[in-house]
Symmetry: C2
Subunit: 411 residues, 2 copies
């Protein structure tokens, strides 16, 4: 295994995250795959906690994802258990049994119903999860729950991540201040041997499950679903949001209720923050890339074009090499399969116009763009000139570090 240094794009420090009334966590070393590292996290929620979430669309999703999809339909949560080191994916009936035993242990310890327990696993695919290593730690975890160990929890869910990811914000709901905390892991959209994207949001807001489901799905669409490291899709990607309802405001039942406006704004900001941290920990990443697409047929088309640019190995290697090779952006727009007016297309890099009306901008000076390309944050904007659709996508560059991590791992 390659010893990977902390990403040069990592934030300076883990944020100072306050307690959330109704949420307690604990973490421990369970030795799921490696000894001597935190790899198991339990979160416990007060009665009445609602939950919503979105999960991978993979056709080969793991047993935990299948369980969570079912449990989400009830909309209530009392427990969340997450292990790293093994994804419990492609493990047949034994994988399903492992989830059942884990759920049973957590439900017993927390004295709740099974469908109130959520389970996530991240790590190696295709190897059996030795669930007794998880189950045997549940009692210890449930007896050491505390309301302030966010950084420890963020560490316990890491795999190839080079830094723990957390974010916190407050929002106003009808005059009451509520807190939103989030932790996440991921260092590729996936590297299924040792990674995956997981995100957990915790809040004391008092919001019904159906509304939580709607607003977390909406936030995911403009944050986690707008990032890409290598274009690969995890079998375990999971984002869950838990609302304990302990804040002192009247319950909100409709996700479009105007009282939620500020909460939705803050939630999106928090999700974008965590999504950016995942990109900044992209395997081998040395540059953070923001791609803004305008003028597409609609927002979905804009996102498809943005992801086509963001997933292109040729665009990503050009950024790695600080090469102002905008022809590759033209190519990536062309291959997206979405409408674009070739003869009105405009591209800027770092705010500098490189192309407009389907050809290079008159007087284009590549030295200015090259200067921008040498920075650690790169901005690419394209206008495909056919409609009102827009989207913003975030990704990282493709470097020798990515090959090191993924070709040399295990050998």
């Amino acid at each position: 295994m390659v010893n990977v240094p902390v990403s040069p794009l990592a934030p300076d420090a883990f944020p100072d995250m306050p307690p959330i009334p109704g949420v307690r966590t604990s973490s421990c070393e369970a030795g799921v795959r490696y000894a001597g590292r935190l790899d198991l996290m339990l979160a416990c929620f007060a009665p009445g906690t609602t939950v919503g979430g979105v999960m991978t669309k993979s056709q080969t999703a793991g047993a935990p994802v299948i369980w969570n999809r079912l449990a989400l339909t009830a909309g209530a949560a009392r427990g969340l258990i997450v292990n790293s080191g093994n994804a419990n994916v492609f493990t047949g009936r034994r994988g399903t049994e492992a989830v059942k035993k884990t759920v049973h242990a957590v439900a017993t310890a927390l004295e709740c119903r099974k469908e109130e327990v959520f389970v996530c696993s991240t790590g190696t695919i295709g190897e059996y999860l030795l669930e007794e290593r998880v189950v045997s730690k549940v009692d210890k975890l449930s007896s050491t729950l505390s309301n302030a160990k966010w950084q420890e929890a963020a560490h316990a869910i890491m795999t190839t991540d080079t830094f723990a990811k957390g974010a916190t914000l407050t929002a106003d709901i009808n005059g009451t201040e509520v807190t939103i905390n989030g932790i996440a892991k991921g260092s590729g959209m996936i590297a299924p041997d040792m990674a995956t994207m997981l995100g957990y949001i915790f809040t004391d807001a008092n919001i019904e499950a159906a509304a939580i489901q709607a607003i977390i799905a909406e936030a995911a669409e403009k944050s986690f679903n707008c990032i890409s490291v290598d274009g690969d899709t995890s079998t375990s990607d999971t984002l869950l949001m838990f609302a304990t309802g302990q804040a002192d405001h009247a319950i909100v039942t409709n996700h479009e209720d105007a009282r939620l406006d500020d909460f939705r704004r803050a939630l999106l900001e928090l999700c974008v923050n965590l999504a950016h941290q995942i990109v900044c920990d992209g395997e081998g990443a040395t540059k953070f890339i923001e791609i803004r697409v305008y003028g597409a047929e609609n927002n979905d088309a804009a996102r498809a074009i943005g992801l086509s640019i963001g997933n292109s190995p040729l665009v990503k290697t050009a950024v790695a090499g600080a090469d102002a090779n905008w022809g590759r952006i033209v190519m990536a727009i062309g291959k997206a399969g979405e409408l674009a007016d070739r003869d009105k297309l405009a591209i800027t890099i770092g705010g500098i116009a490189v192309a407009c009306n389907g050809e290079m901008t008159a007087g284009y000076d590549e030295t200015l763009v090259t200067k921008h390309m040498k920075k650690s944050e790169i901005l690419i904007e394209v206008d495909v000139a056919v409609g009102p659709g827009s989207a913003t996508i975030w990704t990282c560059d493709l470097t020798h570090g990515y090959i090191d991590i993924n070709a040399d791992y295990r050998t």
Copy 2:
């Protein structure tokens, strides 16, 4: 520019290709981008030559592609001119003018109609093609035409290719032996700064244009459209087939005519041969990967699953590292978005069963698979167990060499 050695997967030698009655070619150094290298090729066809072809589906296709699409509707060919060094893509009105002037020069030299002239350009995107460098060479090229300079022609169309690509076969049409020659270039599905996939097939068979169009499209579907180097799509990809009709058999008008059975078989074999050569020249390639998909909903779904595996950076880096990391294959099947029965899925590598019925094969011995993974030709087979669809895809590994070529080029 990185000085790239000849691919370790290159064939031993350029094949010995016989003349095709009715086809003459010539090549020269036109200095389109670099001095001192062949970069312009003219082919001249006898009157009565029919033509068919398929071209990139890119929304930002270049001016030559737009011209060829139009010219193909007439189905007759007398000339083909190809330059390397500049793709004449995203060059606005000047790009269209450059094509017009080139067509005019070739039509004048060959005394034919403009719509009988085909034009291809490959190389840098977004820079104006200095078409006078091309046009000024047309008279010289048309006065030095010869019927045996296939290797020279294959060289003239190269960009980042590390070896010239050619293939030849014979076929039987109703008792008459006809010849099929092909040349191609490409060292990524695209690297738009200096590459693209181009293929030209020449035959003396006597086949109507509509039938040529149908059979070349059919052959492309199972050859060039089944390869991938980096999943990027060129703005200039072009495959054209020219049939001079000089062979001594009665004209065939229907592409489903049984007299074409052997010809279609030979054509597919030749196209697969050239497609494999392109994969073997994939940027940075050290391993050739064949991916066979069975049990998909239909053949299109099988190809989508195969390309999802073949385009996955994680699968390709695992192969580069000789890592028997089949969990990444599971992931790539899952992300294809096509039907797959997760609990019946089977995977073999090098003929060795690694997974069946949705989990690791009992008694699986990774050392055997690792031994296969160290070879230069890797075979991956997957059965997704939902239907009769099948497909075969060819690709190469993703190595430091790819990053070297694409991140460091121009810097």
